[in-house]
């Protein structure tokens, strides 16, 4: 089976007036179909840039990048992926339903079919009652759920998410994470998920890709073996904390346990 994403030696250089900035260098990464992979790292490590390259919102300077065996552009034009950003980016003049229907509408799906699919998606994200509302009538968390429903509209086999819960409060965030795990299990889509939260990455992913800045590189890949069924209970589990520690150590480059003990 073709990998959802395959990157070999991918690099990205931004040139500006003040000179060239190497945002990414020598990225080798593959994401299997149906796999949930998080990209984590400090600001400026190029995790969002990598996501944008996969989405064909930017083009790599060097290396080879394929999405389902196609170039990112072909994949974008074939609608192989759905995308959600940190900002929900809903169109304020459209109702919740019309926002979810947007990708379908842009690709000429008929009215009846659109309505059925939107209804399905809204109940998936628990917003059936708000179908006729306008975005400004919803809370930030609800808007983000609409954005996620929209990204799922065309049943993509790859979901690209750039800190979609970044603007949410901790409680909403954890609930959304649980929902996302469920939604992904149901849809069977591969996910590339950008975040700067270690617990979030651990809770959601099968693998956590740790990146370091200047230039953006992959410094470690941490497999998370917490199983496929992940409920709220997992957050209190010792195996969860162990995985969080493993990612934190990979992120800092050194074992951090000794220092942690010191602080207490």
């Amino acid at each position: 089976m073709t990998n959802a994403v395959e990157a070999r030696g991918v690099g990205k250089v931004f040139s500006s007036r003040s000179g060239e900035v190497s945002a990414l260098e020598g990225i080798d990464l593959h994401v299997a179909a149906g796999e949930f992979v998080s990209l984590i790292g400090p600001s400026g490590c190029g995790k969002s840039t990598l996501l944008r390259l996969i989405a064909d919102l930017d083009t790599p300077t060097t290396g080879e990048l394929t999405v389902f065996g196609k170039t990112p552009q072909q994949a974008r034009e074939a609608q192989d992926y759905g995308i959600a950003f940190q900002q929900a980016g809903l169109l304020p003049w459209r109702t919740v339903t019309a926002n979810v229907e947007l990708p379908l509408e842009l690709h000429g799906v008929g009215k009846g079919e659109r309505a059925v699919r939107a209804k399905e998606l809204l109940s998936l994200v628990g917003l059936d009652e708000f179908a006729g509302h306008f975005p400004h009538q919803l809370s930030g968390g609800m808007q983000q759920r609409v954005a996620i429903a929209r990204s799922l509209a065309e049943r993509p086999s790859l979901l690209l998410m750039d800190e979609p819960f970044g603007a949410l409060d901790e409680m909403t965030r954890e609930r959304m994470q649980t929902e996302l795990v469920r939604i992904c299990a149901e849809s069977g889509a591969a996910v590339v998920f950008v975040t700067h939260s270690i617990p979030e990455a651990v809770f959601l992913s099968q693998r956590v890709v740790v990146m370091s800045p200047r230039p953006g590189r992959i410094s470690a890949v941490v497999p998370i073996t917490l199983g496929d069924v992940r409920g709220e209970g997992l957050r209190e589990d010792a195996s969860f904390f162990a995985a969080v520690t493993a990612v934190r150590e990979a992120l800092h480059g050194t074992p951090v346990t000794a220092r942690g003990v010191d602080l207490r």
């Binding site: 974008r76 990708p103 306008f134």
Partner: protein, 311 residues
């Protein structure tokens, strides 16, 4: 963002729903408008009372205009004059009648000009949105166009128009006036539309790109709806400037039948009949308000797009 948007316009405001305050305040807005007119009339009379007839002087220099009945007739004299016949000739229509028919003429010409200018402005803005090169190339000309005095343009337009005969179509004088009005109206529409087309945030633009939406589709489903809050005030402003343009054009092309001509001919009787020219000036101002008001009716059906109107 573009240079133009940042230089010519204030910061974009955050989206704030405007709908709830719409209907309940419509009556109050009319009331405030009427009060403003009454206040203006009261101020006028106050100036007449306070400032001496010969005007205010500071040493030798005159700092306030004369306020005798010849320079500033009483408001009620102006109103009274409006209801009297235009001239002493028998069968002469009242000033009001003459002004109404003149306003009707000018309004139609101005709206024709507004329509042409708005369509042109929208197309120009779309062109500039499509190709950044076009924006860089055209913006200086768009700005420069407004620095050319209309009075200089008027005879040229009339001259060119006079040479146009296409089959049965013959260029009319009022078309020149409308064209000159459109020249003034297109500017705010171009600027407003361009700002509006460029207003969607990156997340929305990239969403459309991620959906592989074409430029046309993005324009239709994203940029055009997003531009409504910018476009409505621009169209309103365009309507007011179209009226000004039409009046100036009527005067400088010598077109008969409109309020511009009336202002000139009434001004000639200022020394003997001072209330008459003021009546024409008031009518011209009211006409501009009327045109802008008519255009703002466009916004009635667009409530959901006016989530963040830039007023």
């Amino acid at each position: 963002m573009t240079d133009l948007a940042t230089t010519l316009a204030p910061e974009r405001t955050a989206p704030v729903p405007v709908r709830p305050r719409e209907r309940s305040t419509a009556r109050r807005r009319i009331l405030v408008g009427v009060l403003a007119v009454l206040l203006l009339a009261a101020l006028w009379e106050l100036v007449k009372v306070v400032v001496p007839d010969a005007g205010g002087h500071l040493g030798e220099a005159s700092v306030l205009p004369r306020t005798d009945d010849l320079a500033m007739p009483h408001v009620w004299d102006i109103v009274e004059r409006v209801l009297q016949p235009e001239t002493s000739a028998t069968g002469s229509p009242t000033v009001l009648g003459a002004m109404l028919s003149a306003c009707w003429f000018t309004l139609r010409v101005a709206l024709a000009g507004w329509l042409v200018g708005s369509v042109g402005g929208l197309l120009l803005a779309a062109l500039m949105q499509r190709w950044q090169l076009a924006e860089h190339a055209l913006v200086p000309w768009v700005v420069l166009s407004q620095t050319v005095p209309l009075i200089a343009l008027a005879p040229l337009v009339v001259g060119w128009g006079g040479r146009i005969h296409i089959g049965a179509f013959e260029w009319q004088r009022w078309m020149s006036v409308a064209l000159i009005a459109s020249y003034l109206a297109f500017f705010p529409v171009t600027i407003g539309a361009l700002r509006g087309f460029q207003s969607p945030p990156a997340a929305q633009v990239e969403l459309f790109r991620a959906q592989a939406a074409t430029w046309n589709r993005t324009m239709l489903s994203l940029r055009l709806p997003a531009s409504v809050p910018y476009l409505l005030p621009a169209l309103r402003l365009g309507a007011a400037t179209a009226v000004v343009g039409a009046i100036v054009a009527e005067v400088s092309t010598g077109t008969k039948g409109g309020i511009g001509r009336l202002i000139i001919s009434y001004a000639q009787s200022a020394s003997g009949d001072p209330a008459k020219p003021w009546a024409a000036i008031a009518a011209a101002a009211l006409l501009g308000l009327l045109a802008a008001g008519l255009v703002s009716l466009l916004g009635l059906g667009l409530g959901r797009y006016r989530y963040a109107e830039v007023r």
